[in-house]
Symmetry: C2
Subunit: 414 residues, 2 copies
């Protein structure tokens, strides 16, 4: 069996070729897209094995749904890879430059990060999505998917590797870890000699494990305890629409709403409007005392924990606040720094909220559901960073690059 | 005694004020500069205690020199803080923006990182330098200096805190850890709830410890195994000048030269020129077999380790290579990714080298000693990053910021 060290070495070697591969990267991506379609049957056969095992092992409906591929889904994967190929190359962009007083000509240019590790769960489409983005930005990638999707991931990776080679780039640009013991994850997280960054994609548990155990730089993604604050100057029907959309459009994703804060001055009018909307989807409300006074006993009393966690479900915490300042305090205390929104018609209130909230995306009068690479115009997304280092919010191709200074002289010494 | 948790909480609270402090940050910095000069005697008295302890405990000459302050050095510290105040505010800069097809107005702006931890060794001037940069970028800072400089650091921090308060900002914007047990460093490295980034400043040992133990994002700084490659098309006298400067100007710093690679076609001419220069400062050469054939037995045989380590001393590794490609291979294998230089008159050679070397700074015909925030025009420098995430190379004020998206809508839902 290949050791982790060997995987790292091969990835680093491949990364050196990829760094100057130019348009061959796009040729490789188009070859991958074609191969995914052409070898669809092979991929689906492998996926059926995974699905059968999943059913046998009592996998939940929603997990099985994420795991299972169809011809249409494989086509979507291929289409996704084509879209990545069509994006502009993020490498080689001159970001800044100057001539220093001593005549040195300084240029700061974008370069690939190098070797990227991706740890993900049972969604085999992540394999091609993530690998395509890494490749486009000139990075070699080491993938470690969930063991539930092992056959699918092997088939997809094998298709990709052959296509990459056909385009004249090293097959080892994309490698899959086949050793599914826990130890191999730990080894990957410690591969500091080869790995430039590790990106976990998946649930909060996976991300916590990686952040706590990694010895290489990690980009933390995805935890979204998002808030909507209904200001005293809000258009209440707009507020109810935004809350309904942010909570119920897709409750399982990170940009879904988890807590509503309502200014006391409008709570009596706003809360019934909001509840009426949410009742259509049987959203469970967990409210503060004042909320329960207004909406009645159908509202579950909110605990401290209800403000802290991501429900990722048809559940919403509700709290009445005395002021915008109190809303900012609540958000500073409980938010995971993903996306927060104020609904207001007040200019000053909008300013104070956007200045005072420290999150990746701060909205005025729009649904938190827009925090997404596609919606932000980034073309494609490798994840949504909730940390402040390197990248924050939806991460596109540019966030898979680093920089280097090129300094041209004529013999200058210091 | 204050717990680490409390320090973190206070820092986070202060960071919220600093984020929107605007020009009050500059007022605080100017007040710090004035106070450092005015209360110089107090700082020097504390520093004398540290120096006496250092002498008693047999501290080496060079460490004592780094530790000891004088009136002139304190004035320099004050001047440094004034220079930081004069730089443009890195916060609130609009980095990009667009109007999305649905009418959402998207703006990406720079914001402070939040809370920065700095771990450093026995140089008390780092206390004011680092704190001033963090403050200017709107960040709260938690400092942990070496215990050898404890009295000095306490005095300097106390001066800064009072000055910050006098400018109407929270004193806890700058905090010093006074608990010097090893446990307190470990606690700081695990303070993920409050710390947005940890920056170690010091020797390789300190940096390794932090990288291996931290549970918060770290920016790795300072290891520089730098190379100069003398190409077959080099101006050999320029090469000798650059090598002499890069090796002997200040051998103890990270941008000093450690290994010279010489193309075989010019080795017989180049090596004696280089040696002649370096002999003036009694630089010890450790060479490959070919180097020793040319320069004779005064050259120590180089071991594998000589190519791997930073000497930080009047020692230089020398190797003859058969081609530019072999030089690139050597650098890819041994470099720490800090600064590398090619000396050549060949256009194509210069291109191949700048494309092929993956380091923070890649030079053509100039000394590696220029890798420095001041020399690059960044105004001031918090360190030189040798990692690829977030910042690479000399880090200025901009690298102490993160970003957020502000999204202005009119009720958009998804």
């Amino acid at each position: 069996m290949t050791t982790m060290e060997q995987l790292g070495e091969r990835a680093k070697k491949s990364a050196r070729s990829l760094a100057t591969a130019g348009s061959r990267k796009d040729r490789a991506l188009l070859a991958i897209a074609d191969a995914l379609t052409e070898r669809c049957e092979e991929i689906l056969a492998a996926n059926r094995l995974d699905a059968e095992n999943g059913e046998k092992n009592g996998m939940t409906r929603s997990l099985l749904d994420r795991l299972t591929l169809s011809e249409a889904r494989v086509k979507e994967m291929a289409e996704g890879v084509r879209q990545v190929a069509a994006l502009p190359d993020p490498v080689g962009i001159v970001l800044s430059g100057s001539v220093r007083p001593n005549g040195l000509k300084l240029t700061k240019v974008s370069v690939p990060l190098g070797v990227i590790g991706i740890i993900f769960e049972a969604r085999p489409n992540v394999t091609s999505d993530a690998a395509a983005l890494c490749l486009k930005a000139g990075n070699a990638v080491i993938l470690r998917g969930g063991k539930e999707a092992m056959h699918s991931n092997k088939a997809i990776t094998s298709v990709m590797r052959r296509a990459i080679e056909s385009a004249g780039l090293p097959a080892d640009s994309v490698q899959l870890i086949e050793d599914m013991r826990r130890e191999s994850a730990v080894e990957l997280m410690s591969l500091s000699r080869y790995l430039d960054v590790l990106i976990p994609r998946g649930g909060a548990g996976l991300i916590r494990t990686v952040v706590e155990n990694a010895r290489v730089p990690v980009i933390e993604t995805g935890t979204g305890n998002c808030h909507v604050y209904v200001d005293e100057l809000a258009d209440l029907s707009m507020a109810a629409n935004i809350i309904y959309n942010a909570k119920t459009d897709r409750p399982s994703v990170c940009n879904a709403l988890e807590t509503v804060l309502v200014h006391a001055a409008v709570a009596e009018k706003a809360l019934p409007l909001i509840k009426e909307k949410l009742d259509k989807k049987q959203v469970e409300l967990r409210g503060c005392e004042r909320t329960r006074e207004i909406l009645g006993d159908s509202v579950v009393p909110a605990t401290e924990e209800d403000y802290e966690i991501e429900f990722l479900d048809y559940i919403l915490a509700v709290r009445v606040v005395e002021s915008l300042e109190e809303a900012l305090e609540h958000i500073a205390t409980y938010s995971s720094g993903h996306s927060e929104c104020i609904v207001t018609e007040g200019y000053e209130q909008a300013q104070r909220f956007t200045d005072g909230v420290d999150s990746a995306a701060v909205y005025v009068n729009a649904s938190t559901r827009f925090t997404d690479g596609g919606e932000f115009g980034l073309g494609a997304e490798i994840g949504i960073s909730t940390q402040k280092l390197h990248a924050r919010g939806p991460m596109g191709l540019n966030d898979l690059t680093s920089t280097k200074y090129i300094v041209r002289g004529t013999g200058q010494i210091r």
